[in-house]
Symmetry: C2
Subunit: 208 residues, 2 copies
């Protein structure tokens, strides 16, 4: 039997690194939460943060809570796949966690803003970047408005940022429209993308 034919019957399984991204308010959290409920075979990345835990938050489940000094040490040691300072507090993704999950054969799912997604793609070009988009500007605005956490001025700022983020679509692999009342369909499409990627002849082999 030829070498290639043998390979086809015994293809290696390369776990995938999947980034769910998109503008603020588009529904990234809901999508990832529902993926977690439907598919237990993924590893969902736990973010490290220097902010103190809220009463209901559990270390190692919701976040890895570390001190600011510890976080800065992780940055110095290049132990973070991606990190950012948000409202004066650090958050980031420990590389080792992702490596361990991939080594165990699990597909890794991470939720990141557009800037963070682009950073991951630079470090791991084999990562699969999925851009969640609203069906229209109006839907995105309505979603942000429903949160009732922001002033009119802040909403306008978010919309400007969203438009800029959408111009970076070329850095992404896939775009999935997250319609109002269409969360199930959105999650299906994301799962189909992951399934299809596992069938690619040219498999993506992530190394970190």
């Amino acid at each position: 039997m030829g070498e290639n034919a043998t390979d086809l019957y015994h293809r290696p399984h390369y776990p995938l690194l999947i980034v769910i991204s998109g503008p603020s308010g588009v529904g990234k959290d809901s999508v990832v939460t529902q993926m977690r409920q439907r598919q237990s075979s993924f590893h969902f990345v736990i973010t490290a943060t220097s902010r103190p835990p809220r009463p209901d938050e559990v270390h190692g489940t919701d976040y890895f809570f570390v001190s600011e000094t510890e976080f800065q040490e992780m940055i110095r040691q290049d132990e973070l796949l991606e990190h950012a300072m948000v409202y004066g507090q650090y958050k980031g993704i420990p590389k080792q966690q992702v490596r361990d999950a991939l080594n165990s054969g699990k597909d890794v799912i991470m939720r990141l803003d557009v800037q963070g997604a682009a950073t991951v793609k630079r470090l791991a070009p084999e990562a699969i970047l999925i851009f969640l988009a609203a069906a229209s500007e109006e839907e995105l605005y309505a979603r942000l408005q429903r949160r009732q956490t922001e002033s009119e001025e802040q909403l306008r700022y978010r919309m400007r940022v969203a438009r800029e983020e959408m111009r970076r679509i070329g850095e992404f692999d896939y775009v999935v429209i997250n319609r109002e009342c269409g969360l199930d369909e959105t999650v299906e499409q994301v799962l189909h993308i992951i399934d299809a990627e596992h069938c690619r002849v040219q498999q993506r082999h992530v190394t970190l």
Copy 2:
């Protein structure tokens, strides 16, 4: 609003050209038949042939039955996407049929042997080639044997051809393992691939 952002909210829909291929005996017909039962939104290509219709076959449903002269004229006029002489009779795929289906917005599904799939990819590089593979040499052999249409010598020849065809996997986009008793799963994976391809940021725009 920026141009790109507008584009993202109003993405054009490009129908896909999907080729289901793989070695003889792997189950291409069963997969395509079940796709037809489950998804009416596709156009399933009808092959043109110069062989006479069998009693139960309907012109325009099972095949387009044309005379040998008509077929040769189609070849001369470059009206065929792909054609072959099989057991002394012509069969081939009329380009116009594929063009019309794509223009109507339908994804086009065609079943082709490995050689034919490669020909289509050369003419339409944006075509999506799916290679159906058995789970093992043993399963493929058992499948061919169950047909009871071929001598032991013919079976061995088919297996040799299958091995050679599997070496051409690099010309394909996806590989789906069609396991014994796993037809439903195979069809699901093919449908997921099609769904995922529609979500690609860099859409494939087929022109013929």
